[in-house]
Amino acid sequence: MIWRIARSREVTLAAVLIAVAAFASVRAPNFLTADNLVLVTAFAAIIAIAAVGEALVILTKNIDLSVESTIGLVAFVVATVLKQHDMPVPAAWALGIGLGLVLGMANGVIVTIFKVPSIVATLGTLSVYRGLDFYVANGHEVNLVDLPAGYSDPAHQTLLGFQFGGIGFSGIPIFVILAILVVAAVGMALRYTVIGRQFYAVGSNAEAAAVIGVRSRLTVFLAFSLCGMLAGIAGVLWGIYFGTLYASSASGLSLQVIAAVVVGGVSIAGGSGTVIGAAIGALFLGLINNELPLLKVPQEWLTLVYGAVILVAISTDALIQVRSQRAKARSRVR
């Protein structure tokens, strides 16, 4: 039992993460400072929430390339609404999350009802949603001064901090707590509810799932809708984090989110993986992004290391699989 936990992908990833963090903190003493970690983990939390949604879609053997446009559009719309219409802040946030949900549902409809392969469908909506973003922007950006006072503060605020004698703990960033809640909620739903198990069923073998009565199209629709809603949440947090928003905000994020999911152990072939893994993957990649400049790695090398990390992560996956299959075969012979 212990070995099974130890061999699980998520634990391995967490161990690697801690090892890398330890290495960085030795070589660059500023890594472990509260200032540094709070902002880095807060941003990683945003990616993690989007990664949880993406993981749901990938579990069902699909993919959603349009998350970056959803996040950008929601962030911009929320900020614009606050700037121009004096809406109370929670209402604006609800509007943003609702918009994300609608965009996700649109993806779901194209994939399930019109039967367009998800890679093509989301490739198309990637451009269409971004075009909507530019249309709404109409040449303007939203500046920090247009938003309510202190709007950006939650991005670097923490909870549960304490100072006791000489020992101080600056607390956990609010965004990270949010991310933990999301991961816990979705993870438990996936594991302990019937609908959750259906995600895995549809991803592993859609025909067999249909035979036992799983409504696979409904499940996939649900996956895309949830992905959109979680991207909406990420979009709202994005707006808080950055404060100043452009129509091109969050460009290029989709590949980062997918990379986080993949590094976190969710198989691109569907049917296996956990949202905890996706979240840890997001944290891992966020930390790497932050550590490299601290380790005085020149800026040119960052992308190279990023790519190498992704390849190493998925290769170890495959190697472990091959090893365990060989071990199984050997044990059978014996």
Binding site: K61, N62, I63, I110, V111, T112, F114, K115, V116, P117, S118, I119, V120, A121, L123, G124, T125, L126, S127, V128, R130, G131, F134, A206, S216, R217, V220, A247, L255, I258, A259, V262, I268, A269, G270, Q299, E300, W301, L302, T303, L304, V305, Y306, G307, A308, I310, L311, I314, S315, D317, A318, L319, V322
Partner: protein
Amino acid sequence: MTNDQMGVNKPADASAASAAAEAPMPAGGGSRNMANSARAILSGVARWEVLLVIILAVVVWWGTRISPNYIQPDFWNSLNFGASVSGTMEVAIMALAMTPIIIMGDIDLSVESMVGLSGAVLGTLFVAGIPLQLGIPIVLVVGALGGLFNGLLVTRWGLPALVVTLGTLALFRGLCNVVLGTSYVSNFPSNFTAFGFGYVPGTDVPWTLLTFLVLAAVFCAVMHYTWIGRQIFSVGKNKDAARYSGVRVARVRTAMFVVSGMVAAFAGVILALRYNSVRADNGTNLTLVVVTIAVLGGVDINGGKGTIPGVIIAVFTLAALQSALRLAGVSSEYQNVAIGLLLIFSVITPQLARQLRVLVDRIRQSRRRPARDPVPGEVVR
């Protein structure tokens, strides 16, 4: 990415089945003959290439409505044709190389980074004094090695192509950044830059277009008329069946990745020479355009189906569309919206046509006279 990998339902290929069912024509019933030939025409029209040509014609017509400069009196010599077409040639040749990969059920996302890397290597070699005549072949080898790397990871270790090429997308771009550092090269000799910008002497055909047509002819011949092409299609339709019938699946897949890498490297050379500029961000955002062209050209993203002629028409359709939109003063982001919508509808429309045909079939069948019980051995139509 295997056949089944992406997408909820793989659209059933009914055209082959219905074509097979057509073979023995029943005797008697002139109306049935007409109905059958109507069905044949419908299945022919629903062939993607024809639909695409119609779309191309519509786009061209719309372009001429937007601006009288769209097609100028000497059509082939107009700057617009040369410009609009030669700007698309890099993605066009990459789309040619992407087609066999997608047909086999894989994908190569790293092509745009190979474009950047090949330009970076070429520029660095040039600055170090190595003439372009030597530099270009070296760069093609680099492209082949990159493709080999992708191919080995996909075939040897069984990693999904989507994820491997996601990683190499970043890896090659990173190598490009490291090779170039903060510098950039922009003083290639003019006889080479003329290749990118100029025309074949004596004619009005841009050099890059000629290159594309030659490559297109080669790909078309190989994919549709040789045993290599047949192997590629068989791998795409059913990998295991192909393996059991003796196709060296791993070898074919790796070979196509190598080809894709080399073609991407060549596209990178063209890009660098045409713009006379090698920068670390050469070629960014090209991958999605390449995949769009392939899908627009009728290549099934799930594998197993696709034609090179379709991709060629898709290239021109995209060039015509972008040219028309630019003449209409539409900026890039809205051009992308148009392309995104076109992509989605280009996949939805054959689906709808198929579902329409199934519906028509059902209506026809329900209107038939009630049949007597079939005699054993009789086939009921």
